[in-house]
């Protein structure tokens, strides 16, 4: 049996988008090291509901690190101290008895806080809508090798496609820049033959939308790569910078 822990949580509490928020302190008692971070919050919330208090609102869905819904900054690090994992994959064994854990929502102008730890990340959806797709209707899935794709490109596209769109890159960036997210989306389609025809237009439109949303600019600190739960490489940002230059050099593709 592993030892149970008692923790102090300092959590951002905010009633709604228009109300001011503040940090509030909670006690998490008898936390098992085998719990995930979100399970720990579930237990705390059950206790709060029992006491007739307002539970801590947070986003979660798949709880296996593939949906990108959970979004909390734990002790200053999006998704917590563990590398290459989301908050839902973070286990309490990474904390010690008596720890004080600060939990905050993603902080960025394009991500308004809706309640407590829940932010509205529609800005990322609007960037996808601006060009993160392939518009040709291709019918049913083709035979696996009907369209030749080199192993190198397929692997690279897969690395970019690993992005789950959680927004941790924005949350950690000192400039709240979304470059890693956008570059992953631009690259994963641009590397594949199906996505190549719209490559120039895609990068132009997605970057334009990114700027419109009010994200900051990239200063190449590479903090995004360090906290990305899917370890998406900043080399995709260089790739996007290159794609953008080519797109501009070729003459701006139809501005929609």
């Amino acid at each position: 049996m592993s030892k149970e822990m008692n923790l102090t949580l300092k959590v951002w509490k905010q009633k709604d988008q228009n109300s001011p928020g503040q940090m509030k302190t909670y006690q998490a008692k008898k936390v098992s090291p085998d719990m995930s971070f979100l399970e720990m919050l579930d237990v705390v919330n059950e206790e709060l509901i029992h006491q007739g208090q307002d539970p801590i609102a947070f986003d979660s869905d798949c709880r296996e690190g593939i949906c990108g819904t959970c979004s909390m900054v734990i002790n200053g690090t999006p998704h917590g101290p563990n590398k290459g994992t989301t908050a839902c994959e973070l286990h309490m064994r990474h904390f010690k008895d008596g720890d004080v854990i600060t939990i905050e929502p993603w902080r960025a102008k394009p991500f308004p806080v809706l309640r407590d730890l829940i932010t509205n990340r529609s800005a990322l959806d609007r960037i996808i809508q601006a060009g993160g797709y392939i518009s040709a209707n291709t019918g049913n899935p083709a035979d696996a090798n009907a369209l030749p794709v080199s192993k190198k490109d397929a692997d690279l596209a897969m690395d970019a496609a690993a992005c789950i769109g959680c927004g941790a890159c924005v949350a950690v960036c000192k400039n709240a820049s979304a470059m890693l997210f956008v570059s992953a989306k631009v690259s994963h389609l641009g590397l594949l033959p199906q996505g190549k025809p719209e490559r120039d237009r895609r990068v132009w439109n997605m970057v334009s939308q990114m700027d419109k949303e009010g994200f900051g600019n990239c200063t190449n600190t590479f903090a995004c790569e360090a906290v990305c739960p899917k370890k998406v490489s900043v080399l995709f940002i260089a790739r996007m910078n290159r794609d953008y230059a080519l797109s501009v050099a070729k003459g701006q593709p139809d501005a929609s």
Binding site: K10, E104, N175, A176, V207, G216, T221, A238, R242, A245
Partner: protein, 228 residues
Amino acid sequence: MNLIKAILLSSIGRKYIMAITGVALAAFVFVHLLGNLQLFLGADALNKYAVLLKSNFAVLWGYRLGLGTIALVHIVVALSLWVENRAARPVKYVVNTHPYADFASKMMVLGGVAIFFFVIWHILDLTAGAVRPELTEAKTMLGEKEVTDVYHVVLKGIGHPIAGFFYLVATCFLALHLWHGLESLLQSLGLRNSTYQLYIRLAARAAVIFLFAGMSLIPIVCMLGILK
């Protein structure tokens, strides 16, 4: 119109401007250092070089104005990006440490401001002679001609302990700025990839170490009074 928007108004476009003006400014810094290292070749070598630099009025002022414009663009665009970056996070984190961004990258704006003020003082002092006029009035004979004794201007001007200290501090800021900048600009221009990233890092750091060594050597030598 779209081209202007793509370059001047977009986030990536302005990073290109930062990178390209940064290359030009860094190139100047290296040429400036190499020129000044002629200090070690003796008074005549440096004074001859100074005469050569000032020999053509149009080239000299074209160069100065061009460089000034590039520096101004670098600063103005940097400030526009910085203002946006600040605005992109109106509510700060309670735990606000940025442990994942390296020190040099966090010092870009502060270091840039420090370098700006240093350069203004440096030009007023040693080029225009406005701060210590007695310094730049020194003349010497180069062959048949009477010329400004740049060699002794440098020795005395930078050899002054307070001035020398500022030169060393400014060198630290400049080295830190380029430590991040030289590598970062290739990322901004999209020229970094998995094949070259290691070489880019090594080359950028080697260049900065060379620059730092050369630039701190001059004030140290001048302050210690090794050269006469």
